[in-house]
């Protein structure tokens, strides 16, 4: 099955996009490593600010995986909206319970 030139170009572009998505995910992971309670030997106190930041970073990571790796960004509307709603409701509920 020979790929056309246009297709090859598109594939290369997408491969590059995937590479960048991976870089973003790894950078956020390394940043999270520094924030984690286990990173400190002293007693760590609860922090609403850190938790909120962690949830925002988790939202970005999950969204990058969904949209770029799972190709949700070019999928039907119901899937794009459904996954977005799921992620926001989940992380919103997590933060709500955390604050309660």
């Amino acid at each position: 099955m020979a790929a056309t030139t246009g297709t090859t170009e598109k594939t290369e572009t997408t491969a590059r996009t995937l590479g960048w998505a991976w870089v973003v995910l790894v950078v956020i992971t390394v940043a999270s490593w520094r924030l984690a309670p286990a990173h400190f030997t002293d007693t760590v106190v609860a922090s609403t600010g850190v938790t909120a930041l962690v949830l925002v970073l988790t939202y970005i990571k999950a969204r990058v995986i969904l949209r770029y790796f799972m190709e949700v960004r070019s999928s039907p509307r119901w899937l794009r909206i459904g996954t977005e709603v799921w992620l926001i409701v989940l992380l919103g509920a997590v933060f709500g319970i955390y604050l309660a």
Binding site: T7, A15, L18, T29, A38, G82
Partner: protein, 198 residues
């Protein structure tokens, strides 16, 4: 409700036009169901955590954040390999696609080995199910680990598909990829909620 394009069970489909579902719709239904099941685990964990945040935070400090972070990068890398294998399969580069799937599977095995080591180290240090945080930790990461194992079997099916010149259906590769990415997606959330939040 957007229009759902009917799957083409051949290798002609190369580009992904807007509004096309990658892989089989049944896999997506299963993935969305699994995401909801895991979400309920996460919320139950948060409810218990909110009842005793101090002791949960103390216990979280005993996790191995280095292994947790390395495992996150390992799984993210495996997802990149799987995504690349889908691109290769679409372009008709089946040998390359198989190589990417093997690389992803290798990462999956490495994840399981590191997770096993992490568990063994925690159990020998006395962090067992008797601690509320650690009982959540073992159950959530344990159920996730089963998903990694199933994912490895799925990747095996994808390799078989790609090896057979008479098959090589792109949508099968996409379907397997969708499952594997879900395993990665769930881990990213587990990492945030168990390892990093305070």
């Amino acid at each position: 409700m957007g229009k759902v394009t009917v799957q083409q069970p051949d290798t002609e489909t190369v580009a992904v036009p807007d509004g096309r579902l990658p892989g089989d719709v049944h896999m997506w239904v299963m993935v969305l169901g699994d995401l909801i099941v895991f979400s309920s685990y996460f919320l139950i964990y948060l409810i218990y955590r909110s009842m005793d945040p101090e002791s949960f935070l103390r216990a979280q400090q005993h996790l191995d954040i280095n292994i947790g972070s390395i495992n996150t990068v390992v799984l993210l890398t495996s997802s990149l390999f799987v995504a690349r294998s889908v691109l290769s399969a679409r372009a008709g580069a089946h040998r390359q696609a198989i190589g990417f799937v093997y690389a992803a599977g290798g990462c999956g095995v490495l994840f399981m080995v590191l997770k096993g080591y992490e568990w063994a180290a925690k159990i020998s240090a006395g962090h067992t199910n008797s601690d509320m945080f650690f009982s959540f930790y073992y159950v959530i990461t344990g159920v996730h680990l089963v998903h990694v194992l199933i994912g490895l079997i799925v990747l095996g099916v994808v390799v078989r598909e790609l090896q057979n010149p008479g098959r090589r259906r792109t949508w099968m590769v996409e379907t397997g990829a969708t499952y594997w990415h879900m395993v990665d997606l769930l881990w990213v959330i587990i990492f945030g909620l168990l390892y990093v939040m305070r």
